[in-house]
């Protein structure tokens, strides 16, 4: 490869060995990656292209066109290919093998494109490089025909997936999905619709069939009913004939029955007559017997009556005596009651007189106490210094003392003493007495005249004057209080007050005495009560007087106290009352016993009367009856009736026998059933006719419905749908079978196909990771997970180092699987930067395991990075 004026590279020539590993070392920006770019531009773009990446390839600041020349082999071809862009653009191709060929311009470009397309796997060419800046994805290998072909060969059989097989699988899948759902494999679309339509068609046929069957059944039923109706008509005729016959027979028998009934009635009559005759005879005998009995009873009643009358006479006398006793007792009782009333009045009178005396005494005492109270009050009022007046005097006296004390305390004191033998001193016009010094507070102006020669005027200051006025005022107040109290001094006031207090004490005790006497009563009430009592004695006295006057017996002990009199009168009255009770009971008992005897007598009298009347009646009736029919006639009538009844009984027996012989019951049963048969048959016939009409109506209705045509239509639809359904089922089954088999085989092929590639990765990987290394490769040949020491890690979760290592191993594996003939170079640009020295060494060792036919180019900026690769050529830029 030769490059001129390409980015930072002015000129470089590099020779790549045909096979084996080339390590290109060089510092950053020396243009390692640019070489690969140059190769891509050369292959991809015409010399006329002005694409951005081509313009970017122009060296900065120099007006020259980038130039690339490569001598390369692909398939059987070897050629030199050079291109310059932008300035003096050119394209030249010199093919040297297998046949010489020289082309320029676009023709050359197109020729190279064609050669590469024919012989090289450009997809693999892109896939097998690991560029500096690209993400560490698994290699995109599934589109590579060369790898595919290699894997095909490795898999042994011609069962490669992809290509047309996949197209067919996709098509089969599409067909399958026309009939079945993807998820559950249930019929869908037209297939499902047909299935449902078939079910509906089946149901419709069944329904239409049922409609036909119904009509067929009705037609049969109609025919059967018709036959039965005919049979009924025949039965009716037969039944009528039978009835006529039985009716005739029955008429004969009825005569016999009627005769028997007549005989029975005659027998009944005779028996009744006989019974009547017997009754009459018995009646007569009873009447005779009754009369005899009554006569006997009448005699008995009369003797009882006499006996009772005799017994009743003494009882009446005793009763009269008892009545007189009772009257006396009642009178005595009335007397004692009057006595009792009088005694009560006297007692009452005595009690009220006592009460009056008490009230009068109490009123007298009250009035006296009341007078005492009045006297005490008058005495108290005479002593005027009460507690309030005394307090006023005391207060005024104290105020005066205070005012004086204050005046003394404030005022200047003037003390004047006349010295012995010295002129007279006058104070306010009054001469001062010797040896009696004049001293006072200076509360008012004072004029001193000494010896007439000197007048000294002393004036109090203003405060002293005010105080002096206060003293004067206080004194006035005291004088006023004393005048009001009627005394002349405080002491007098106090003495007067002591008198006053004693007298008030008298008033209080007098009031208490009065209150004690009244003890809650009102005097006026007491006075009213006294007046009431005073009026009473007059009434009581009158009552007592009249009572005493009316009863001499009681007045014998007038001195007796009223209470004792009352007690005695009550006892006497009680005794009299008891006597009345006792006498009344006795009287009552006597009267009672007489009464019962009289009732008994009355009863006996009426009984006797009744018996007598009865006896008379019976006797009269018997006589009348005998008048009508003598006893002997009655008996003979009875005998003849008995004979007639006997005869009638025999006659009835004979007829009964004839009826029994005729077997009437059996014949009646026959007649009844014969009579019932005709209506029965008619009824049945009517029912049948009704039935037939109903069926006919149904048929008429159904007949016009075109059920047969509906049935045929349903059957046609069913046949049609069945055909469609079966055909579709066949197609569906075929599609399902084909799809299943294609999927099976495709999966199997893929598994067989992926195997050699997986093996290659595993072989190389074990160099790096040890014997436990394993990988899982997807159908698209991407590594999905790596297993080391039994731990499987998805590719995406691997570390950058591991990803990079796997990326390299995958490419190397690919290179080792694809043979040199179809292979493409593996380009690895500045890789393994993420790997530790140990891994690096091991990866290098893996490079050593590579097929010597493979071409590998390793670009690195780290000198010696790949030094562990034993047999690599190294170029340093």
């Amino acid at each position: 490869m030769e490059i001129r004026d390409f980015k930072g590279i002015e000129h470089r020539e590099l020779r790549f060995p045909d096979r084996g590993i080339l390590v290109v070392e060089g510092p950053n920006e020396v243009g390692k990656t640019s070489m690969i770019e140059a190769l891509d531009l050369l292959l991809d773009h015409k010399d006329t292209s002005r694409r951005a990446e081509i313009r970017a390839a122009r060296p900065i600041g120099r007006d020259v066109g980038p130039f690339v020349e490569v001598e390369m082999s692909t398939g059987p071809y070897r050629f030199t290919y050079r291109k310059r862009w932008l300035r003096r653009s050119l394209t030249e191709l010199d093919v040297t093998a297998p046949t010489r060929e020289q082309l320029v311009g676009d023709v050359a470009h197109e020729r190279v494109r064609a050669l590469l397309a024919q012989t090289a796997d450009l997809h693999l060419w892109r896939a097998l490089r690991l560029m500096q800046a690209s993400p560490l994805d698994p290699a995109e290998l599934s589109g590579s025909p060369a790898l595919a072909a290699a894997l095909d060969r490795a898999a042994g059989a011609a069962n490669a997936p992809g290509g047309e097989g996949d197209t067919i699988l996709a098509a089969a899948e599409e067909v399958y999905l026309r009939y079945f759902t993807a998820k559950s494999g249930q019929p869908t679309g037209e297939y499902r619709v047909l299935g449902e339509r078939l079910e509906r068609a089946e149901a419709a046929v069944a329904a239409a069939q049922a409609g036909l069957d119904e009509v067929a059944a009705d037609v049969d039923r109609h025919a059967r009913l018709q036959a039965e109706i005919t049979e009924c008509a025949r039965q009716e005729t037969a039944a009528r004939a039978a009835l006529d016959q039985v009716e005739a027979h029955w008429a004969d028998v009825e005569d016999v029955v009627a005769a028997a009934q007549r005989a029975r009635r005659a027998h009944d009559d005779a028996r009744r007559d006989h019974d009547l005759a017997i009754g009459r005879a018995q009646e007569r005998a009873r009447a005779v017997r009754d009369l005899a009995e009554r006569e006997l009873a009448l005699a008995g009643a009369r003797s009882t009556l006499d006996e009772l009358r005799e017994r009743l006479a003494p009882d009446d006398a005793a009763a009269a005596g008892r009545a007189a006793e009772l009257d006396a007792a009642v009178a005595a009782e009335a007397r004692t009651r009057a006595d009792l009333v009088a005694a009560r009045a006297r007692a009452e009178h005595a009690r009220e007189a006592e009460e009056l005396r008490e009230v009068e005494a109490r009123l007298d005492r009250i009035d006296r106490a009341s007078a005492d109270l009045h006297a005490a009050r008058a005495a108290a009022d005479e002593a005027p210094v009460d507690a309030a007046a005394l307090r006023r005097v005391e207060d005024a006296a104290r105020d005066l003392a205070v005012a004086r004390a204050r005046e003394d305390a404030v005022s200047a004191r003037v003390s004047v003493r006349r010295l012995d033998g010295h002129p007279v001193v006058e104070v306010d016009g009054s001469p001062l007495i010797l040896d009696a010094p004049w001293e006072r507070a200076l509360s008012e102006p004072v004029t001193l005249v000494v010896g007439g020669e000197v007048e000294i005027a002393l004036a109090p200051d203003e405060a002293a004057s005010r105080l002096a006025a206060g003293v004067a005022q206080a004194r006035e107040a005291l004088d006023d209080a004393l005048v009001r109290a009627g005394v002349d001094s405080l002491d007098a006031a106090r003495a007067a007050h002591d008198v006053r207090r004693d007298r008030e004490e008298d008033v209080r005790s007098a009031r208490d005495a009065l209150a004690a006497l009244l003890s809650g009563d009102n005097r006026d009430d007491l006075a009213a009560a006294r007046d009431r009592l005073r009026e009473r004695p007059a009434e009581n006295a009158e009552n007592a007087e009249s009572t005493e006057g009316a009863d001499d017996v009681e007045s014998t002990a007038p001195t007796e106290p009223p209470e004792a009199g009352l007690t005695r009168a009550r006892e006497a009255h009680d005794a009299a009352r008891d006597e009345v009770e006792r006498v009344r009971d006795a009287h009552h008992a006597a009267r009672e016993s007489g009464h019962e005897a009289r009732i008994e007598l009355a009863r006996a009298e009426s009984l006797a009367e009744a018996v007598a009347a009865e006896t008379a009646g019976l006797s009269a009736r018997l006589a009348a009856a005998r008048e009508a029919c003598a006893d002997a006639d009655l008996e003979s009538a009875r005998e003849s009736a008995a004979a007639r009844a006997e005869e009638a009984s025999r006659e009835a027996g004979r007829h009964e026998q004839r009826v029994r012989e005729a077997d009437v019951d059996a014949l009646r049963t026959q007649l009844e059933s014969a009579r019932a048969e005709v209506p029965g048959v008619l009824r049945r016939r009517r029912e049948l006719e009704d039935d037939r009409l109903r069926v006919a109506a149904r048929l008429e209705h159904a007949g016009g419905q075109g059920r047969r045509e509906a049935f045929d239509a349903a059957r046609s639809e069913h046949a049609h749908v069945t055909r469609l359904f079966e055909a579709t089922t066949r197609h569906a089954q075929a599609a399902r079978l084909l799809r299943t088999l294609l999927r099976d085989e495709s999966d199997a092929a893929r598994r067989a196909y992926v195997r050699p590639f997986t093996d290659a990765i595993t072989r190389l990987g074990r160099v790096v990771y040890g014997a436990s290394f394993d990988v899982e490769v997807a159908d698209d040949l991407s590594v999905t997970s790596r297993t080391v020491d039994g731990r499987a890690v998805p590719f995406a979760h691997l570390s950058s180092g591991a990803k990079e290592q796997l990326a390299i191993l995958t490419r190397l594996a690919c290179a080792s699987v694809v043979d040199a003939e179809h292979g493409v170079p593996v380009l690895i640009d500045d890789a393994l930067g993420y790997s530790d020295p140990d891994k690096l060494r091991r990866v290098c060792a893996a490079f050593g395991r590579l097929d010597p036919g493979a071409q590998v180019v390793l670009l690195t900026c780290t000198p010696g990075r790949y030094s562990a690769i034993g047999h690599a050529d190294v170029v340093r830029l």
Partner: protein, 388 residues
């Protein structure tokens, strides 16, 4: 001499399950049209009356529309029309002839032979009718009708419906019409012609006993359908019969051996020649062994004829197309795992690389070999791409 038109088995209201949609409607219409054709023939030939010997209607339970249309068409016949109730339309409780629709729509010239025995239709011309009163009579109705009749004064025509005992496969049938009795009656001059119905194909049994057949085809089995008979009857001379074809539809069975492209071409030609296609029903019974490609072509061909004909159906019991899987699939260059699938399907379908013979058309859902064959065909079609 009297001239009349003998027809039978109009089977009005009949449907054919293989006719779908409009084809069924046209077929139904054609059966009504046949009545108008009868009217034309009767007018043209100067027939004095028309006898329909049973099965005028397909069933007692036909739609009122069918009854009205039929009677309306019968009204277009200029002469009296005598309808004999047959086994399909007997005079039972649900009979068409006693329905209100029939009574209301019946034209003057239409007479139902609803009582057995003599019916005078013209001076000196009598019909001896043997109508059916149920679907399952227990005797030879025609013999019953003829019993007790002496030689005719004028011309007498027996009208009956049912299978002649000599033609009835069921020898024990009690209702077969005794041929011997008819011949005796003919010989004795009791009747001069026996007009029969029941067979849908024209058929004469001796000089004077005839089935007219159905005026419009109803089944693939019928040999001479679509005719009506114009009959000249006179006492003392054999009747003179002239068949007139009135049918416009045909039911055709096509049986062919199909072993390759040439046979398919021939079949195409045969089917192509049938006309008119819209009134032709074809039943195909093909046998042979075809490659996947030929089978695909045959299927396409038949699909096209399915559309062209009123109906095209496969006669399953006689149809047997086997498919051979040769190199066709590998020739398509699919290769790879698809070859394995082909092998497995072939094994499932029959033996080795080729599907053995078997009723390809009858491949039911449970038939594994059939399914495998269908799958092979499908695979072939998919491999060949949408053009196949």
């Amino acid at each position: 001499m009297v001239r009349f038109l003998h027809t039978s088995d109009w089977q009005l209201g009949m449907t054919r399950h293989f006719l779908e949609g409009e084809a069924q409607a046209r077929y139904t219409g054609a059966r009504i049209d046949a009545i108008r054709s009868v009217a034309d023939v009767a007018r043209r030939e100067g027939c004095e009356f028309v006898v329909v010997a049973g099965d005028v209607f397909e069933s007692s339970l036909v739609a009122t529309q069918t009854v009205r249309r039929a009677l309306e068409a019968m009204g277009s016949i200029d002469v009296p029309v005598y309808l004999l109730p047959g086994n399909h339309d007997p005079l039972d409780a649900v009979s068409v002839y006693s329905s209100r629709v029939f009574a209301a729509a019946r034209p003057e010239n239409v007479v139902v032979l609803d009582t057995p025995g003599l019916h005078e239709v013209a001076p000196g011309v009598e019909l001896v009718a043997a109508p059916w009163f149920s679907k399952e009579p227990l005797s030879d109705l025609l013999a019953d009708a003829l019993a007790g009749l002496g030689p005719a004064d004028g011309v007498r025509i027996a009208v009956g419906h049912g299978a002649l005992d000599v033609l009835d496969p069921d020898e024990s049938s009690v209702r077969s019409i005794g041929l011997a009795g008819l011949q005796r009656a003919l010989a004795d001059g009791v009747v001069h012609y026996v007009a029969l119905g029941d067979k849908h194909t024209r058929l004469g049994v001796g000089e004077a006993v005839h089935y007219s057949g159905s005026p419009e085809v109803t089944s693939f089995r019928e040999e001479q359908p679509g005719d009506v008979l114009v009959v000249d009857v006179s006492a003392g001379a054999p009747p003179v019969l002239t068949p007139h074809h009135v049918g416009t539809w045909s039911f055709v069975s096509v049986q062919a051996q199909v072993e390759g492209a040439a046979d398919i071409d021939a079949l195409d030609e045969e089917l192509g020649a049938l006309a008119p296609k819209d009134r032709t029903v074809v039943r195909t019974a093909l046998q042979g062994t075809l490659t996947l490609a030929d089978k695909a072509r045959l299927d396409t061909l038949l699909d096209a004829y399915d559309d062209a004909f009123a109906a095209r159906i496969t006669w399953s019991s006689h149809d047997d197309i086997a498919v051979v899987v040769g190199d066709e699939l590998t020739d398509l260059g699919v290769g790879g795992f698809v070859d394995h699938v082909v092998d497995r399907l072939a094994a499932q379908a029959g033996v080795g690389g080729a599907a053995g013979p078997g009723p390809a058309g009858a491949g039911s859902a449970g038939d594994e070999a059939g399914t495998a064959r269908d799958a092979l065909s499908l695979l072939y079609r998919l491999a060949k791409g949408p053009a196949a």
